[in-house]
């Protein structure tokens, strides 16, 4: 079990992390998700021991490892740009962690070679041991980097933007494969990503971060369906954000009362969030938001309809079932958000 307690970190005047608390169970696959500058990579590097916190503790199975260096923590780290040693063959790269051991613990040359070959077949690169990193594709290099990290038999695998530098197709294959490997080897893994799709697809739990704080920790379902803050709602999945007024228990936009319960929210300005697929369109009905259709296009399995409302400066995005006839550009319709969420105004 990995416990992160009250971690804070500054780079000069820039607060990178602020009072971070997180507990990770053995065998979990965790995503640290956030935009650049959210502190996710710093947190990963602190857990690894490549960076040291200004305050707080990192515990592995209840033991304080805060003062231990990376090599003493039993972690495998995979770098965003692989960081393969370019002058070594693939097999030498994979065997590096074993070959730098002290004389007493070091396996013989032939054992290291055999172990490297074994790991290379595990990452589906059997027979490529004599190549140099420059002779491999991006996806292959990433798998070499993974095999190299696994060679030291880490309890914890840490990956910094593992798919960041790969093209979309390779990324998807590698993603699925990494998930299988994680389960097959019984690892605990933490990976950093700014790609919400990647986090939603791969991780058991997602840690959503912004500006050096954790906004929400939860499963893909929880983070997507029940966002804890307007930031999470906006960052994970697509969202329509409308500035509204709460008055006497009603949600109003541009003077129109919408058929949405205001709940407990106090009177005053607020923001209304709803997902494109949680909207229904109708001809003319009270309680809906009147919009003018400005654009329609086919988006995978549905129609993406874009509409305008005079009081909203953003385009309102709506996904409609591909089975129904789409509206026409210029048509005046009313939109009913079937599921929505109200947050206080002013939050990012």
């Amino acid at each position: 079990m990995i416990t992160v307690q009250n971690i804070s970190k500054r780079f000069g005047d820039y607060p990178a992390l602020h009072d971070i608390n997180l507990t990770i169970q053995p065998g979990e696959f965790i995503a640290l998700l956030g935009p650049s500058g959210s502190g996710k990579t710093t947190l990963l590097r602190i857990i690894a021991g490549l960076e040291f916190q200004d305050g707080g503790k990192v515990l592995f199975d209840g033991e304080d490892v805060s003062d231990r260096k990376v090599a003493e923590r039993g972690v495998g780290f995979v770098f965003q740009h692989y960081a393969l040693f370019r002058h070594m063959t693939v097999a030498e790269n994979v065997g590096f962690g074993l070959s730098v051991r002290g004389r007493k613990d070091r396996p013989s040359k032939s054992e290291i070679k055999a172990r490297a070959e074994e790991l290379l077949s595990l990452v589906q690169l059997g027979g490529l041991g004599n190549r140099y990193p420059a002779q491999l594709s991006g996806g292959q290099r990433q798998r070499v980097a993974l095999a190299r990290a696994l060679a030291v038999e880490p309890q914890l695998l840490l990956l910094d933007e593992p798919f960041g530098a790969l093209d979309a197709k390779v990324r998807k294959d590698l993603r699925r494969w990494l998930r299988q490997l994680h389960e097959q080897m019984g690892l605990t893994s933490i990976f950093v990503t700014h790609d919400q799709e990647e986090a939603l697809e791969l991780a058991d739990r997602i840690v959503v971060m912004d500006h050096g704080v954790i906004e929400q920790v939860g499963t893909a379902e929880q983070v997507y369906m029940d966002p804890a803050s307007p930031f999470v709602s906006d960052f994970v999945g697509e969202i329509n954000r409308l500035p509204v007024m709460i008055a006497g228990g009603e949600v109003q936009l541009g003077g129109i009362s919408l058929a949405i319960p205001a709940g407990e929210h106090p009177d005053g300005p607020a923001q209304l969030h709803f997902r494109p697929h949680d909207v229904e369109l109708a001809d003319h009905q009270p309680g809906g938001l009147p919009i003018t259709i400005s654009n329609i296009f086919r988006k995978g399995g549905c129609w993406r309809v874009e509409g305008h409302h005079a009081a909203v400066d953003r385009v309102i995005e709506i996904d409609l079932d591909a089975g129904v006839a789409p509206p026409i550009i210029g048509q005046q319709l009313v939109a009913f958000p079937s599921k929505s969420r109200i947050f206080a105004a002013g939050c990012p």
């Binding site: 490549l50 740009h81 040693f85 730098v100 980097a145």
Partner: protein
């Protein structure tokens, strides 16, 4: 085709430009080089050889080699240390350090020499103390080594800093995360990554260490057979109207320059190949 034509000068303009550049190079670089060799060989090979195996000339050659053998390794160590610190760590005064590394390039060599005279000379800051302990630095080999180290300091560091900065510290972090200690990381990861750039820097450093005149002239004292390096020896012979002797020794320095150039081209080719071919 039409786009290529748009940026291509007329045939005449091209011929003039290339011809002009060639004539300039020929006049200012090639001709003097040939003159050095032809003057040295004016009275035949035996006079040429005699000038080189002459006692003082041999002493100058020996001293020049000793200076290079001491100062080049020192600057390899200093250069790697400085570029390592600059490229891999953040610390206060880093930009000051980068500026200081360039100081020997920006200051006149005469001034570089005078610095050491002011420090270690008989009337210098440490002069009395040195005399009391019977240590000779100025007008002796240690002074020449000091001046040469100072002059040639930037070559290795300037070659390595941009290279190491571009490479970042991912490779080192990867090595450390795999359990390598500091020495193993340096020897197995950092050094192989910088080897071609380092060799290139060493080459330039060596050429300058053997060829430096100004700073060395100030601190050497021109004692024949004792503190004369090759460039100083050439000057003395020339001032004594011994043109064959002067140009014979000078042609050795010219050969060193040519060897350096060839080695540099070979290294550049290797360097680009490895650098460009390695991807990230």
């Amino acid at each position: 085709m039409s786009r290529a034509a748009a940026v291509t000068e007329s045939r005449l303009a091209r011929a003039l430009l290339i011809g002009g550049a060639m004539a300039f190079l020929g006049f200012f670089l090639l001709l003097p080089l040939l003159a050095v060799f032809s003057e040295g060989l004016k009275q035949g090979w035996s006079a040429f050889a005699a000038a080189i195996v002459e006692h003082d000339a041999l002493a100058a050659i020996r001293l020049t080699l000793i200076i290079a053998v001491i100062s080049v390794p020192l600057n390899v160590v200093f250069g790697i240390a400085a570029s390592w610190a600059i490229a891999k760590f953040n610390f206060k005064g880093k930009s000051l350090l980068i500026t200081l590394i360039d100081l020997p390039f920006s200051v006149s060599p005469v001034v570089s020499g005078l610095i050491f005279v002011l420090l270690f000379g008989a009337h210098g800051l440490l002069g009395p103390w040195l005399q009391a302990h019977d240590l000779k630095i100025i007008f002796a080999v240690p002074g020449i080594v000091l001046a040469t180290v100072f002059i040639t300091f930037p070559f290795v560091a300037r070659e390595l800093i941009p290279l190491m900065m571009e490479q970042g510290k991912d490779d080192e972090e990867a090595a450390v995360s795999l359990g390598a200690n500091g020495w193993q990381t340096f020897w197995h990861v950092t050094l192989p990554n910088i080897r071609w750039g380092l060799l290139y820097g060493v080459l330039l450093c060596n050429a300058r260490a053997m060829g430096e005149f100004g700073a060395v002239s100030v601190v050497s004292g021109h004692i024949r057979g004792m503190t004369n390096t090759m460039p100083l020896h050439v000057e003395i012979l020339y001032n004594e109207y011994d043109f064959v002797g002067a140009f014979a020794v000078a042609s050795l320095l010219a050969v060193l320059a040519l060897v350096t150039l060839v080695a540099k081209s070979v290294l550049e080719w290797r360097f680009d190949y490895h650098h460009g071919g390695a991807g990230h």
